[in-house]
Amino acid sequence: MDKTLPDLATAVAGIEDGVTVMIGGFGGSGAPIELIHALIDRFLATGHPRDLTVVNNNAGNGHVGLAALIETGMVRKLICSFPRSADPVVFTERYLAGQIELELVPQGTLAERIRAGGAGIPAFYTPTSYGTDLARGKPVEVFEGRPYVQERWLKADYALVKAHLGDRLGNLTYRMAARNFNPLMCTAAATTIVQVSRIVDAGAIGPEAVITPGIFVQGVIEVPNPAQEEDLNRAQARYPEVAQ
């Protein structure tokens, strides 16, 4: 068994119109920029995929990565906790123009809903959001005298994830706080595609050092020296390079 993929185009080739795609990262840390840009390339070449529902903690920054994905018009709906950033202009304009739907979810609830999706737990109760606008329409139950909101699992057709090392079985490590949502999203998608800085032999990642076991990963693509969103934005990069 070998889960390595030959190139970025192949990695994102299966993503169809209308599917739900989880995209890892918190701001720029752990954001799979190259996979996102490969998806944009495919859209620019073929017109697909479109009408995507994207799950990410944020809504992109500047004109690269997730922001660029939104800017191309591929994203119908965004599920996130914090659609603000240093430069949120792309999402903000689309949202205020009614061109993109937003499901706002508290950050811990977003994380737990994704974990629940991966762990086969269709619903759970949390104190978070009780009594607020974000709990509207959700069942409430009292446990031990305290009210809790019922939240549902979140699953996806695809997850696009950035990790640090990956082996051919799909075992992964992450770099520092670039871990964030990535291991959770690996578990919650039917197909998880991971870009890693380096593909290593099975066994090169010690069994205690594995953060995402390979069972949660369907494809691994090596992207040495991946771009960091913060660096791209400081350089005022746009993707694709010629403005549309």
Partner: protein
């Protein structure tokens, strides 16, 4: 008594259906033997409830490390690509539908896929382990079992009489006499020992078997 497959031979037959690269959980005891019989060129990745993926065979006697055991508390070994994780992550793999196959033993399997394999009734000390999680988690839940009890009673039944492990969860039974699928709430005969007629097999089975096509011969090497 009719000729029948040994437990080892049943395990061999079950192993033939496991694809290369499949993620597999084998129940403790008899099902553990399935791991020995992977067809050449195929390599499944074995999961154990206590938090290991991709472990290897038992070590030689005297070389056990008791921090490296499977769910049956038997010593196993590391292989390149083994991963450790805690029990909640382990059952996230199970419950979350990430395993391709779980192979379990059975006291009774009903024609609707109900399984009873954890309790023989109110006497003694009950123990369930991970069986109830596995039957609702793996994409495919198969049972390996003698076709009848020691007393000759059918283990494939119309309705389970023993406490259930799971409802409608089993999709294939590898028995000492046959390979039987469960589809649409019915037993469907796929393979049987050549020495046994369909009628003989039916007489040892507690619910009607559908036979939509002539069953293949269940042929297993001497082991």
């Amino acid at each position: 008594m009719t000729a029948k497959l040994s437990p080892t031979q049943i395990a061999w037959r079950a192993a033939q259906d496991i694809a290369d690269g499949a993620y597999v959980n084998l129940g403790i005891g008899f099902p553990e033997m399935v791991a020995k019989f992977q067809p050449p060129g195929r390599q499944a990745i074995f999961h154990t409830e206590n938090g290991i993926l991709g472990f290897g065979e038992a070590p030689p006697a005297g070389q056990e490390d008791w921090d490296l055991i499977n769910a049956g508390k038997k010593a196993v070994t590391l292989k390149p690509g083994t991963a450790f994780f805690h029990h909640a992550d382990s059952f996230a793999m199970v419950r979350g539908g990430h395993l391709d196959v779980a192979i379990l033993g059975a006291y009774e399997v009903a024609e609707n896929g109900d399984l009873a394999n954890w309790s023989t009734g109110p006497k003694g000390v009950p123990a369930v382990g991970g069986a109830m999680d596995l039957v609702h988690g793996a994409k495919r839940v198969a049972v390996i079992t003698d076709h009848v009890t020691k007393d000759g009673k059918p283990k494939l039944v119309k309705h389970c009489t023993l406490p259930l492990t799971g409802v409608g969860c089993v999709t294939r039974v590898y028995s000492s006499l046959a390979v039987i699928d469960i589809e649409g709430g019915r037993f469907v005969l796929r393979e049987k020992l050549p020495s046994l007629s369909v009628d003989e097999l039916q007489s040892l089975t507690g619910a009607e078997m559908l036979v939509p096509a002539p069953p293949a011969d269940l042929i297993v090497p001497e082991l």
